[in-house]
Amino acid sequence: MTNYYKQRGIYLFLTKLFFLLIFFSHSYAQNGGTEISGKVLNDKTKAFLPGATIQIKGSTNTVITNDNGEFKIVTYKDLPVVLRVSYSGYDAREIPIDNIKPVVVELEETATQLSDIVVVGYGTQRKRDLTGSIAKINAQEVAKIPVASFDGQLQGKASGLQVITNSGVPGEGIFVRLRGTTSINSSSDPLYIVDGVFLNNTSLQTTVLGGRTTSPLADINPADIESIELLKDAAATAIYGSRGANGVVIVTTKKGNYGSKTKVDVNVSNGWVEADRSVLPNLISGPEVATLVHEYWVNSGQPERSPFRPVSEGGLGAPEEQKTYDRLAFLLRKGYIQDYNIGIQGGGSKSRYYLGAGYVDQDAFFKVIGFNRASLKFNYDHELSRNVKIGVTNSLSRSYRNQARLGDGPQGRLWGSAINNATYSPTHDASGALIGLENTYSLVDNYDVNTVSLRYVGSVFAEANIIKDLKFRSSISADYNLYDEYQYWNTGTSIGSAVGGKAISSITQNSAWINEQVLTYKKVFGEHSITALAGNTLQSNELKNTYAEGNGFANSNYKLISSAASTLASDSWTKHTISSYFGRVGYAYSDKYFAEVSFRSDGSSKFGKNNRRGYFPALGLGWRLISENFLADVRWLSELKLRGSYGLTGNQSGINDFAARGLWSGGSPYADTYGTPLAGIGPLQLGNDELRWEKTAQTNVGFDAAFLSNRLSVTFDYYYKYTSDLLLQKPVPASSGFAQYWANVGEVSNRGFEVAINSDNIRTKNFNWSTNLNISSNKNRIEKLPTPITQYTRDWVILQEGYSLNSFWLYEQLYVDPKTGDPVFAGQDENGVVTVEDRKILNSFYPKFYGGINNTIRFRQFDLSALFTFQYGNYNLNLQRFFIERNPATGANATLLNRWQKPGDITDVPRLVSTGYNYTLDQNSRYLEDASFIRLKQLSVGYSLPAGISQKARLTNVRFYFVAANLFILTKYTGDPETNVTSNPNAQGLGGFGTPPQPRSFQFGLNVTL
């Protein structure tokens, strides 16, 4: 009873804090009984298995092994009994016991993933019990590619997951799609959940970086991750209701194990990144560019505008006398990468923990840009009693970025300044002074733009068994991000010179919290097994920005806004809340038939009063044929299961928090008398009380099969997603005084198949070779859209009914007339004029199929793995080429050397001239290129010390490794097909203007486990 009071005290304390808990005391005395003892070992390595579970079959009597793999269990049953011994990652065994001699149980590692435990929405399941489509990626498989965020490491790792790294800048946003793009204006990014915390994945960036944004996922240290689950179909995602439509990525961090020995894991790597010259812009020499410029003006009938006249006439001399100034070579560098991680995990009988610390520093392969992150992780669970468990997860990180403008925009373009200048034009004058402010040399010296992101992601939870089989869990989690940006433009930059120096400080805070209550019920009655859960969540997200700008500084020693001659300030604030109920009931019969129903109701503050709540149900069915008697004798078949599901999910992200409201705003000041600005107001947006959830209905059918004792396994899925009520900024006639308003218009479909094949090609004592292949296709189609929507400047991309999203809208250049050298466009009239009606929708950014293939070989102590990723059938409009080819004086690509020069020349590069359509029609299909590729994404080689040697040093494992990323790419595309000029999801496929390509990286590392 003292035990009871003690616990009651703790209880009251917790209740006062913020928790609701239920507790039942189930203590009982232990007198007499039979003690069984033994050891649990790995069958091959004979290593102890601490934390393995031993259960007396037919009872709830369970113990786990200690640090040395030993256990003792007392039973009141009469011998013989059956011990069920299980351990995560191993096949469970049942051992009959008829005497009390100590037993040694050897467990075999599970051959395939099929019996793994996978994390699902609000729980875990055995993979074999799933009715939905879920892919699991183990942490060991997460790659070491030089991008800072874990999503970038997943390319080619799972079917249905398309990952495109948009540039060679570490920590920058990555384009991720799970089963296609369902939305136009709403976000089509998957939902990211880390240990139950809904992670903010919208960049808080306000600094102008040429249309590029940073990745909030880069705040998470990949080394802390245990596993990543991808929830793809409606059966898996509908429990997340309004946020499930684009799939869910569940990240589980390391937790430690109960009753396990302390394990210390140290992982250190160092290396470098460098340019992959095969994908760099192919700039030509000074004399070559000069020749082109001269020819351009001569052909235009204005030879006097060519600077290549004799020096005596004030010109620059003949083209062939020009020098070459290679700004790109100056900008490039070898960038260093360092990565240090230490993880300590372990646990006693009542608690377990993981403590991680990491530091990573990644330079870009060109000057100025860099990323570093320091992170701490602490996870802790504790059992207060047999029935009550509490715990915390915490991750704290500081990410620092040195940034520069890449991509689009006229000023301060670092990469653009190096490639968008004619190579004959000097960088310094005769006295050695820099020429111009938009000079690569000057920018490198003067760039001072950086960001610090402080991020806390964590939760506290309490879990209690209310009665047998019924568990209650309550948690509060938070995702807090302080994003502190600073820019200083001194008078050596054109932005700074305009105002005598400019400093900008922008501080953005995103605070999200979620409170969650879940009741879980699990019961097995003979052949029937039932799981059920019900819960509710409240979620709030508040975003706040404070901006200050100072203009006019004494000199560059004064950098704080307080020293400025004049200052400006502004702020913004926005918030939304979501309140939800959800539930799920699963039923399994005899390990053969599975059915699962889930449901969620979400209410969002974003929507009009009339349509706040959305209801998202789903049904999943599974049939495990392998358990049927008629397959019992088919020995080559080790698994066969059919799955099917249908359900509704929703979307509301990506629209602003007050999208449904008719609003007026301030911020329109003007003066009544000269010199005194006063406040002004005006209409901001039109309201729509009927605004409601975007809905995606998804059907999924698939099967899991394994052959030859699980050595070959295949997972196949086919899905059809139909999204209706698209949240769209529907254009209204501009004569209304508005451009658009938020409405539910338009429908989009995605359909595709996914195949994942895992094969243990060779499995012997000293030599293992396994292959994982995944390949996915997705076909996207805009089913309904009242008016086409164009994207980006020059309307290069169009969204139009009947076509895929991100299609290109261009004037189709058919050929270059060999007689005149002028381009011929489809639809030209007799005068050679094209009008907007002649523009055609040509191809799309989305591939016909994509995927990855990974081969892993282990030979004695050596291991080797090679990951190839590929995309096929996707197109990019090569803006890099467009901007350096359209006028030779602002760059010049090697492509221009193939220009038409004399009658009879057959080429697709028109005669150089300033008039006509040759170089003035910006939407020319000449720049549209097949961007299919296959890339050796990662190659790694490792050597582990033989167990004998490492154990002498009292180490469990020592591995030396070498990893190289992006070693080569095969593509027809000019440049890197994996670069995009903008983070705008609807304008993807605008290839790489001013955007650095993916770098090559080489890293050497050492991993030591104590």
């Binding site: 009871y4 054109s494 409240l538 007026w664 000269y674 501009a734 020059r794």
Partner: protein, 461 residues
């Protein structure tokens, strides 16, 4: 054991209570009010909101999409004074008169002008309903409404001279479905509406001087321009004279550049200009100046205009509109009317010099031309620019001299295109074979959105 039961019961109650609180407060939890904006149901209700709403119209008028940059841009590069050398090379199709309806800046300007009109419509509809108080007098209220009428007239004037007759929207837009099936009005109907608005504005405004806000005198100046466009010469002379004669408040500066150089603003020469400051900036200087002077230099004088302006025997002191910058060892002319890269250059809408030239042109165009009177006004402008009197004598020569003078006097102020189109000289001077190209195409995106909006002839296919 009893204690355990009561303990369980206690917590069961607590669970139930908390769950219940959760459920009932959930719908309330979803009520979140914006802080940086407010509902459009309650907008203009008192003196303060009426005043701020009128400032909101000026704010749109001065936005980068309208007088701040893009509207002057499309007019400037349609004529022969200004060239576009920036990255959006397609903008040069305005200069070559081959522009297509999908040209981006057209849609930008169209949208900005109608935004201004909608703000004016809100004031015109709602401010008369605001009750008068001791501080908010009848006169103060009329002034605000009068300014809105003036600004609406100006906005429709800009639409009609750029695109021809347009859809006349005279009521504020309250919801998305408000604008359906409104056909384009004719050019005459559009001008009739402009005239009606100007008359209303004239009656509501008082005859004060404010160079950054509309007053009755600003209406006089715009009416002078209106009557000139309508070829109503006597009225053009009358209204120009009303302003010119107010020499207490409006005088030409001694030097040509005195209205803009040395950070000048709000000078006596200015009749209507827009005020910018560090918070609301004008991007003209950024677009006109070379990078060594804090700009991007995408908009520059045409070679022809640079040749004329730099020749002081032709342009006189108006050479101060140019600045020569060495680029790759070669001297290049840049425009220097806008040079305040901190964004505080005013937008010059109506200067007194325009009224002299309006009156000169009207006098010369009268059915019985007043050539000496015309030359007198013309020479005031020439002499101020440090040039001798004009040598023209015949009506045709004088009108040509006025045209040339306009070209130089307002070289970068977006007069040239509209002057040439208005006088019917554009086709000849700018070599435009197709008369349809004297109007710009209605933005293609608008044609797609609004079936009632028909394209201008010559751009349909």
């Amino acid at each position: 054991m009893k204690k355990i039961i009561s303990f369980r019961f206690q917590y069961a109650i607590l669970v139930a209570a908390l769950l219940l609180t959760g459920l009932t407060s959930c719908e309330k939890f979803l009520e979140v009010e914006p802080r940086t904006s407010t509902s459009d149901q309650v907008t203009i209700v008192d003196e303060n909101s009426a005043q701020t709403a009128v400032r909101g119209i000026y704010n749109q008028l001065q936005s980068g999409s309208y007088y701040g940059f893009t509207f002057p841009l499309i007019g400037n590069i349609s004529a022969d004074n200004v060239q576009y050398t920036g990255s959006q090379a397609v903008n040069r199709t305005l200069t070559t008169h081959t522009a297509r309806a999908d040209l981006g800046p057209l849609a930008t300007v169209w949208q900005a002008i109608y935004n201004t009109i909608n703000r004016a419509n809100n004031v015109i509809a709602k401010v008369p309903e605001v009750p008068v108080t001791t501080s908010f007098t009848e006169e103060a209220r009329s002034r605000l409404v009068g300014e809105a009428y003036f600004l609406r007239a100006l906005a429709y004037f800009d639409l009609v001279r750029t695109w021809g007759g347009v859809q006349l929207i005279l009521e504020p837009t309250a919801s998305a479905g408000d604008i359906t099936g409104v056909p384009r009005s004719s050019v005459q109907e559009t001008y009739a509406q402009i005239f009606a608005d100007l008359q209303t504005a004239e009656s509501l405004l008082s005859e004060t001087t404010n160079r950054i806000r509309a007053t009755r005198k600003t209406v006089f100046a715009l009416r002078a321009r209106y009557h000139l466009y309508q070829k109503e010469w006597p009225q053009a002379i009358e209204y120009a004279t009303r302003v010119i004669d107010d020499n207490q408040n409006y005088t030409l500066g001694n030097a040509y550049n005195s209205f803009f150089a040395d950070n000048a603003a709000n000078t006596n020469e200015s009749i209507f200009e827009l005020y910018y400051n560090l918070n609301v900036t004008n991007t003209q200087a950024y677009n006109w100046q070379h990078s060594s002077r804090g700009g991007i230099g995408w908009v520059r004088p045409s070679d022809e205009a640079a040749a004329l302006l730099s020749d002081e025997t032709i342009a006189g002191d108006r050479s101060s509109l140019l600045i020569s910058i060495p680029v790759s060892g070669v001297s290049v002319w840049y425009g220097n009317l806008y040079y305040r890269t901190n964004g505080t250059d005013p937008a010059y809408l109506i200067r007194l010099a325009e009224l002299y030239l309006i009156r000169a042109e009207a006098k010369a165009s009268l059915s019985s031309p007043d050539i000496p009177g015309a030359l007198q006004d013309l020479n005031i402008i020439r002499n101020r620019a440090n040039l001798p009197n004009a040598t023209a004598t015949t009506q045709a020569e004088v009108l040509l001299a006025i045209e040339d003078e306009n070209r130089l006097e307002f070289a970068f102020e977006n007069h040239r295109w509209f002057d040439l189109v208005r006088t019917g000289r554009a086709q000849e001077v700018l070599n435009i074979p197709d008369v349809g190209k004297l109007l710009l195409p209605i933005p293609y995106s608008q044609i797609l959105v609004d079936p009632a909006l028909k394209q201008n002839p010559g751009y349909e296919d």
